[in-house]
Symmetry: C2
Subunit: 156 residues, 2 copies
Amino acid sequence: MSTPSKDRLRLWLRLLGLTRHVDGHLRDKLRLEFKTTLPRFDVMAALSRHPEGLKMSQLSGVLRVSNGNVTGIADRLAEEGLVERVPVPGDRRAMILRLTPAGNVEFAQQATAHEGWINDMLHGISAADARLMAAQLIAVAQAAENKEEINDPSHA
Amino acid sequence: MSTPSKDRLRLWLRLLGLTRHVDGHLRDKLRLEFKTTLPRFDVMAALSRHPEGLKMSQLSGVLRVSNGNVTGIADRLAEEGLVERVPVPGDRRAMILRLTPAGNVEFAQQATAHEGWINDMLHGISAADARLMAAQLIAVAQAAENKEEINDPSHA
DNA sequence: TATAGATATTTTAATCTTAAAGTATCAGCA
DNA sequence: TGCTGATACTTTAAGATTAAAATATCTATA
């Protein structure tokens, strides 16, 4: 049987299946080839896009994870000398987290490999199709977010 | 700049973004409306598709998670009387996990709500588009898996 | 039968994750 | 100055997750 609701459920299950598959593969690769994890990679990627560093709260904001979560990951990366906490002049509550030179070197290697793994896994999709699907997904995501605003006007 | 590799990377980031968004929403809903979690829901969903129950190892196989992972979730569900462990006649090592009658009732409600949440979130996609995108994603997933077999023939 | 290797599950140690509570600091105002 | 509420971060408790080690049982075979 096929109803619109079931069709959307099946789409979601496909989406989830593919994402988990790729995600799992990336985690394996990061562990085996760089002895690191996806959350650590995500933190370093965010810092890499902001060479001047990010406050802990900004970091948890862009990564969309909790504050406490970032604390632990930052602790472990700092222990290995890949990131460092810098005091914020004028606000003794805040700390800026930024990549160390060693962290920059390490992340550059990881990012290159990361792009390559994804290119390999998604090689069955042409560049044109990839752009098309990405555009479709943007539309889907926007529809989903609009729907939420209707249900929860607090975001306004 | 746009290279095939970057196009695929961007597609992956979109895919991941949408999936995390929907996934997070589902987790929130399960927690707020049913005081449960997605991993618990996943276990119950798998058992629901197999009314006679599944051995622990079969369950971790179906869900593609580790054995130890299922042990903990099953423990907590069993504590609440939603699932039960049944000995396997003729093999004292193995245990079958199955939904209790209470678990069946509870899951039926969760599954209905779950389908509704997804239908709401993906309402911006027509049923026809949903079927089309699902078909596209199957092709993508197959391409990704074929790629892996080439790199790792052990799966043959 | 004894045992060696395979199989099914649980346990353990580490990381990730969140919500909620706790600590320190800041900013505005009486 | 001293208070109050907000802000920035860390800590805590609980669950999820994995790989690897530990247990228990089974199976085949010498």
